[in-house]
């Protein structure tokens, strides 16, 4: 074990390296560029600037849609594979982890044709980005949900519920999901963090989300873009804290 002093010094150095840029964001976004006086103009711009406020709405909606889509797509599939077609589990795992080996930039390059069809059937809304985001979050969500499902006996639970007359929707929504809640929360957190910060798809498919708006405003209204950058990272961090607290509350309740 390294000595206390050495460890303390090293940790302080790391903390300095990681906190300095965040402090710089705070400093930059609360200062008048010409006079140097403190001002909240940049933060007001988050709500008042039409590009930014619209981007914030879009990004938050996208986060909700992507998490919803991910859960709807993944949970029934994984339950189904475990109960009925265990042979397919390798294929599902491979497909879920594939986005780790294929950079998002490559998927964007190839997805233009698919999006031409999405545009044709659904229309031109930034919310259609959620389709691609579900793919991006698959590897992380798969791992979190798979770990949670390995911790419970899915087959027994499902058979018990079925023999008591529950349909498949009830089995999944009211028996399986409550038991793997911590895995779903973990998956949801990573998905939210990823969607709120995602730039590659949004910028190259020309949709206005928070990171795109940050880059756009970076030239014309730097303080507001800095405020948005800090706000997005603080919001993500707060979400993580809330989710981990929720998780701990559930554990406490179960153990009492």
């Amino acid at each position: 074990m390294p000595s206390r002093l050495l460890r303390g010094l090293a940790l302080v150095a790391f903390a300095g390296f990681f906190l300095l840029p965040l402090l710089a964001l705070l400093n930059f976004s609360t200062r008048d560029l010409i006079t140097g006086a403190r001002t909240a103009t940049a933060w007001k711009g988050l709500v008042e600037d039409p590009t930014m406020s619209e981007a914030i709405r879009t990004s938050l909606l996208l986060a909700v849609l992507s998490v919803g889509g991910m859960v709807l797509l993944l949970v029934p599939t994984m339950v189904w594979v475990r109960l009925r077609v265990p042979r397919a589990s390798r294929l599902v795992e491979f497909l879920c982890l594939l986005p780790l080996a294929v950079p998002p930039l490559v998927i964007v390059v190839g997805i233009k044709d698919v999006y031409a069809w999405v545009y044709y059937f659904i229309g031109d809304s930034p919310l259609t980005l959620a389709f691609a985001y579900v793919i991006l979050v698959l590897p992380y969500s798969y791992r979190a949900i798979d770990a949670a499902m390995s911790g419970i006996d899915v087959r027994t639970l499902a058979e018990a519920a079925r023999s008591l007359g529950a349909g498949w929707t009830t089995v999944i929504a009211r028996v399986i999901v409550p038991n793997i809640w911590s895995g779903i929360l973990g998956a949801a957190f990573v998905a939210i963090a990823l969607v709120l910060g995602e730039y590659t798809f949004a910028s190259l498919l020309h949709y206005n989300t928070v990171p795109v708006a940050i880059v756009l405003l970076g030239k014309s209204n730097a303080p507001t873009s800095m405020a948005a950058a800090l706000a997005s990272i603080v919001v993500t961090f707060a979400l993580l804290l809330v989710l981990s607290l929720l998780d701990r509350r559930r554990h406490l309740r179960r153990s009492t």
């Binding site: 300095l20 080996a101 190839g110």
Partner: protein, 271 residues
């Protein structure tokens, strides 16, 4: 099964489009023209810069990240310091690069916090540091998200190093130095190399940080893909983007293949 259909549409079709498009001319026929373009001096130079950037940020990230993991590993999992480091690392490693690029612009750019502090204290120029927008800046900002990723992927391996092994070695008369050089490091080597490969793939595939930091020019491979995608002027550029994307996939696939192989070796002794 809806899952298979969904993944086929939004993941498999794009990959196939890239793989096929790389060998197609603007008219649709088979051609090797795009693949040959990959040998051009500009493309080779940006590939080389990308590899350099990935390697530099990987070495820095892997060394500093494993050091940070080492500093917190013997704290109890519920210790607030350890929880805090894990939480911050989780956010910084997953979070998009745009925010991080802007955070560093607010630090070292024009009117940045550190720029102004250095200007006040030592009389340096307050115009901001232009190296931030070149390769050194990219290495710095990449390292900022590589260290947290290293902590996340390397901490489990470090935890797997059981205290009994150290006690056994010390009981048998080994010094701490001998324990680390003969037992600790050899056991951790596959995990360390595997984590480093993951960092390399992560850096090589990253786009947002570079795109936000370098608004013009295409110094590295991802930015070259951007300019091939967005330039509407030159015909056939779309297919060049396919070829460049294919090149990127090949590099990342090789690295991830090695990673999977090392992971299998590590899992032999991890709990």
């Amino acid at each position: 099964m809806p899952f298979l259909a969904y993944v086929a549409i939004f993941l498999v079709i794009p990959i196939v489009t890239v793989a096929v498009g790389a060998f197609q001319g603007a008219g649709g026929g088979f051609t090797m023209a795009q693949i040959r373009t990959l040998g051009d001096a500009t493309v080779l130079r940006s590939l080389w810069r990308s590899l350099e950037l990935s390697l530099a940020s990987t070495v820095l990230g892997a060394v500093l990240g494993s050091l940070l993991a080492f500093l917190i590993v013997d704290l109890a999992p519920t210790h607030p310091l350890r929880r805090g480091v894990s939480a911050i690392c989780g956010v910084l490693a997953q979070f998009g690069g745009v925010t991080l690029a802007f955070a560093w612009m607010a630090t070292l750019g024009f009117n940045g916090l550190l720029t102004n502090l250095l200007a006040d204290a030592f009389g340096f120029s307050d115009a901001g540091y232009s190296w931030l927008y070149g390769t050194p800046g990219l290495i710095l900002v990449y390292t900022y998200f590589q260290i947290p990723l290293m902590v996340i992927v390397f901490l489990p391996a470090l935890e797997g190093l059981r205290p009994q092994w150290r006690e056994a070695a010390l009981n048998l008369g080994a010094t701490r130095w001998q324990y680390w050089t003969r037992v600790g490091f050899p056991l951790l080597r596959p995990a360390f190399l595997g984590s480093a490969l993951l960092l390399f793939a992560n850096a090589f595939a990253a786009y947002a940080t570079a795109a936000a930091l370098v608004s013009q020019g295409s110094t590295i491979l991802p930015l070259l893909i951007r300019s091939a995608l967005t330039s509407e002027v030159v015909l056939g550029q779309q297919n060049l983007a396919y070829a460049l994307a294919l090149e990127m996939v090949v590099v990342v696939a090789v690295v991830m293949g090695l990673y999977a192989w090392l992971l299998r070796r590590t899992s032999r002794w991890l709990p």
